[in-house]
């Protein structure tokens, strides 16, 4: 689908968790075309002092209503303002951007691992894989119970959900990667499993180590700073684990990603 700049009406706004807002935007074409991993790049209304747009993953797509949902975590100047948008506002958006999680129908189990706002793309992934019979496991960690963005899709899609919180207020106490490590440790056969990860860098690094050690295939999305989101600034470089034969050392998060095979890239802070 060709990229474009659209003015998207905000249809709904809801608090999805402490410091996280869910926005529903009217965007029929993108609702049809979006797959998990795709993102859009938003101009922040009321903050003309911010030069750049701000990128957000498509969280859900309602193809019949022609809407997409975003999860906006309040992280700083732009996201705070976006989280205040209300029905009636319009958002200036570039989309659809990026690639998406690859999915092989022959898989036995897809293991989604989300840290914090890294949950965003996984609703759409559950939508994408609905109708496929593989096991769907979601490992999802947050600081505390109130920080979890719960979703009706978990039950609808029959996903097995493993929650962790750092303070133990819901699910296991600890980090999501530790819960995953325990889960993977309980079986020796990882054939037909794939890990999809989205979350903070230390979590991604831990996933990478596990996946490589156990020989599990994995994909992660990265959240680099982006000036453009469509391959023009070459600013969102991601380091390749091994330089290519032609000397290429980096890929672009916005164009080659944001989803990358976990073994292929290195994580920087």
């Amino acid at each position: 689908m060709s990229k474009s700049v659209l003015q998207l009406p905000v249809i709904e706004r809801a608090e999805a968790a402490r410091q996280v807002v869910r926005l529903t935007l009217q965007a029929p074409e993108w609702a049809r075309a979006a797959r998990a991993g795709h993102f859009i790049n938003l101009l922040v209304p009321g903050r003309r002092d911010l030069l750049w747009r701000r990128p957000f993953s498509v969280h859900r797509a309602d193809r019949s209503r022609g809407t997409i949902d975003l999860l906006v975590a309040r992280m700083g100047r732009g996201s705070e303002s976006l989280a205040e948008c209300a029905p009636g506002d319009h958002l200036d958006a570039i989309g659809l951007l990026g690639n998406c999680f690859p999915f092989d129908p022959g898989l036995h189990e897809i293991i989604m691992v989300a840290g914090g706002i890294g949950i965003a793309p996984f609703d759409l992934l559950l939508q994408d894989v609905q109708g496929f019979s593989c096991k769907k496991s979601l490992f999802y960690g947050a600081r505390s119970a109130g920080d979890l963005c719960r979703s009706t899709l978990w039950a609808e899609s029959g996903a097995e959900v493993h929650l962790t919180t750092e303070d133990g207020s819901t699910g296991s106490r600890g980090l999501v990667q530790d819960e995953l490590r325990r889960y993977l440790g309980s079986s020796a056969n990882h054939a037909g499993r794939v890990i999809y990860g989205c979350g903070p860098t230390p979590m991604l690094a831990a996933l990478r180590e596990m996946a490589l050690a156990l020989g599990i295939k994995g994909y992660v999305t990265v959240e680099n700073r982006m000036a453009c989101g469509f391959g023009a600034c070459v600013g969102c470089a991601v380091e390749l684990a091994e330089a290519r034969r032609d000397g290429q050392k980096y890929l672009l998060a916005c164009k080659d990603g944001p989803v990358f095979p976990i073994e292929e890239i290195l994580f920087h802070d």
Partner: protein, 303 residues
């Protein structure tokens, strides 16, 4: 309708709006957003003799009304450029200016020589001002003698229009521009980015892997305009204004100060069709003001 054509050496542009090197890829990234043939021209990302991987991340950071970059001129090298990038560019009807850089005046000449056989290149732009390349970059741009030497070396290998792109990080851009004009440049373009830096106070790390990088965007527009005005008074060849231009109004400031054309860089990251909007805004302005051609505007600064 106003005649917006502009002459850069033997090259005639349909209008004075170009895209700036390193901010418009090789054109294809923007093809989804608007008809590239509406532009006066495209300046490619810098091409070097050998492929370059570019700098490690983080490469960019946002600053007040601007951004820092330290991309490091990643590119596939001139031979792959011809194979991979040129086919799309050559399919366009707009003027395509290839921006080149080298680590020595010889290497500049070598890159250009390697491009001479390629049909359809409208002009070359010499980038010896990019401040974030460690090998050489800074030295070519900050000394008039060295700057002139590079221009002369390239002049010797091509008859195509030659544009020398200047850095603002010098005491006298006028002197350096003058030396390049004397050495055979057909036009000057200015400015490249200003050296800048930012620190993450939480981690106490520089926000760019290379510590310092290049500042671009609206923040630098007044600096760019002052440098362009200085050049216009020092040389008789056309000067192409670059730096923080986002709207037709911005472009008009440069043209009134004497610029022959302008380039749009950072603005296109935020509004992919920024350069097109500038073209349309200039058309509107000239129509409203009843101008027959751009020459009536160029250098019309009232002192």
């Amino acid at each position: 309708m106003t005649d917006l054509r502009v002459h850069i050496g033997s090259l005639v542009l349909d209008n004075p709006v170009l895209t700036a090197s390193g901010t418009f890829g090789y054109g294809s990234e923007f093809a989804d957003f608007f008809d590239l043939d509406r532009l006066g021209g495209i300046v490619t990302k810098t091409v070097t003799l050998e492929p370059r991987p570019g700098n490690p991340p983080p490469r960019i950071c946002e600053t007040p009304a601007g951004m820092l970059n330290s991309i490091g001129l990643p590119n596939v090298g001139v031979e792959q450029f011809k194979l991979e990038k040129w086919p799309f560019l050559s399919s366009l009807h707009t003027a395509v200016i290839v921006n080149v850089a080298g680590r020595s005046s010889q290497e500049f000449a070598d890159v250009v020589a390697a491009l001479e056989a390629v049909k359809g290149i409208a002009a070359y732009e010499l980038n010896y001002s990019c401040p974030n390349v460690k090998e050489g970059g800074l030295s070519f741009s900050s000394d008039a003698r060295v700057a002139a030497e590079v221009t002369a070396r390239v002049r010797a290998v091509t008859r195509r229009p030659l544009i020398t792109k200047l850095t603002p990080n010098v005491t006298s851009i006028g002197e350096i521009g003058r030396a390049c004009a004397d050495a055979g440049a057909d036009a000057l373009s200015a400015i490249n980015t200003l050296v800048g830096m930012a620190v993450d106070i939480r981690t106490r790390k520089p926000r760019l892997s290379t510590v310092t990088g290049g500042l671009s965007g609206p923040a630098i527009r007044p600096v760019a305009l002052a440098r362009v005005y200085e050049l216009v008074r020092r040389v008789s060849i056309p000067v192409i204004g670059i730096g923080g231009i986002a709207t037709a109004e911005d472009a008009l400031e440069f043209i009134i100060a004497g610029a022959a054309a302008v380039q749009i860089g950072t603005a296109g990251f935020v509004h992919p069709d920024a350069a097109l909007r500038v073209v349309e805004g200039l058309e509107d302005f000239c129509r409203r003001e009843g101008l027959a051609n751009l020459a009536q505007l160029r250098g019309s600064l009232q002192l």
